[in-house]
Symmetry: D2
Amino acid sequence: MLVNETKIRVRYGETDQMGFAYYGIYAQYFEVARVEALRKIGHSYKEMEEKGVMLPVLEFNVNYKAPAYYDDEITIVTKITEWPLSFKISFYHETYNASGKLLNTGKVTLISVDKQSSKPCRLPEWFTSALAPFFNE
Amino acid sequence: MLVNETKIRVRYGETDQMGFAYYGIYAQYFEVARVEALRKIGHSYKEMEEKGVMLPVLEFNVNYKAPAYYDDEITIVTKITEWPLSFKISFYHETYNASGKLLNTGKVTLISVDKQSSKPCRLPEWFTSALAPFFNE
Amino acid sequence: MLVNETKIRVRYGETDQMGFAYYGIYAQYFEVARVEALRKIGHSYKEMEEKGVMLPVLEFNVNYKAPAYYDDEITIVTKITEWPLSFKISFYHETYNASGKLLNTGKVTLISVDKQSSKPCRLPEWFTSALAPFFNE
Amino acid sequence: MLVNETKIRVRYGETDQMGFAYYGIYAQYFEVARVEALRKIGHSYKEMEEKGVMLPVLEFNVNYKAPAYYDDEITIVTKITEWPLSFKISFYHETYNASGKLLNTGKVTLISVDKQSSKPCRLPEWFTSALAPFFNE
């Protein structure tokens, strides 16, 4: 299992008139958390696109329990728990505020797509190889 | 059942470098679609907050099938299918492009919260009354 | 002179915790207003990019006088006042709320860039021709 | 003079179909840079609002020279150069990419507003006192 933590501070422009971090901003927050989780295994998502593989989102789910507020530094715990991977990869997210309160949980499933053909393709071998050690523990 | 259609044109700032409408923007698109669905029954969400009831999002789910592109005029079909309502209300969304292709489906569940106490409360009677005729057909 | 009016309704996700439409959102609002002004002369910005010309922003200025609020339907008056055009084009914007109050003024200057070479280029002749009648009055 | 540096990584959702960080996102980037500059003098903007003073934006100007790209870590240099301050405060920003290339410059002027009365007010004494040492060098 791969586990990574990412800290993000809520921007003013991300709040809404309820005074909450707008619920839709978690799409961006989880995206940042995913990218940092991939960086941990030695690869960047930018590199993946440059090598011809895109990972558009197939499913996006969030369950909200409590809001984050302006200037809060939140922690997003990101996990990849499922193996083997082929065309899809799922990330599980938990968002906590600075007091350790669970704010929400999310699951995001991406699909591997060949940039040239725009068709689904296997996740690249260099990527699954880099991820494998986290599942051999 | 309440059904409403909302048209939205994809802004340049909403695209990403894949050339797609960013997957996270559907949180805003569905929000616009919900608000227009409520306006159809003679009430605005703005009015609801002014009368002391907030509807923060409890669950947000999207299944993506195909992307929207810059300048596309998409149609979001919004449905409220479940009755009776008490503390929660769910909206079902289907997004189509101008060719009638289904781009994604979503479900968003809101919870009714009293603005003063910040506690869950029943949906206001004036609101459920306005909605009732759509379920008596 | 080309003058066009565009109406935009403030989305919930565009408000901030002051209860205002976030000041940064006017970049998107003015972009929508520009695109609608171009559509008025019979061309879309999408078409321009497809024909190999991009119009990135060179200068962006806004003077804010009063805020817009959630669910407000604002009117953006967009003008192209300067002729002849070569590499650059400036748009002047005025934003009004439903009561006719001036909320802000803006000026956005774009530069014409060849998509292949990434270098500045003259505005396409088909575009300036379509715009010319508005300056012959 | 107060000078501060803030690093921000460009998110995927902040790119547009040109492959650039969308020009409008600098409103948020500069906002983050301002807030971090204030934190440097021992105060947070959050605290300022809690103490009853808001700082809405009065003027916003950006001159763009080159784009930032996805996953770039950019550095925003923020300066307060003008003293004395009374009702207004201006921030000067310069954005650099990781190679040290200047991407854009900006100036943002805020106005001090009393939260209760919604009227302009002097910047709080506790705030100007904390800022004063940077102008006595």
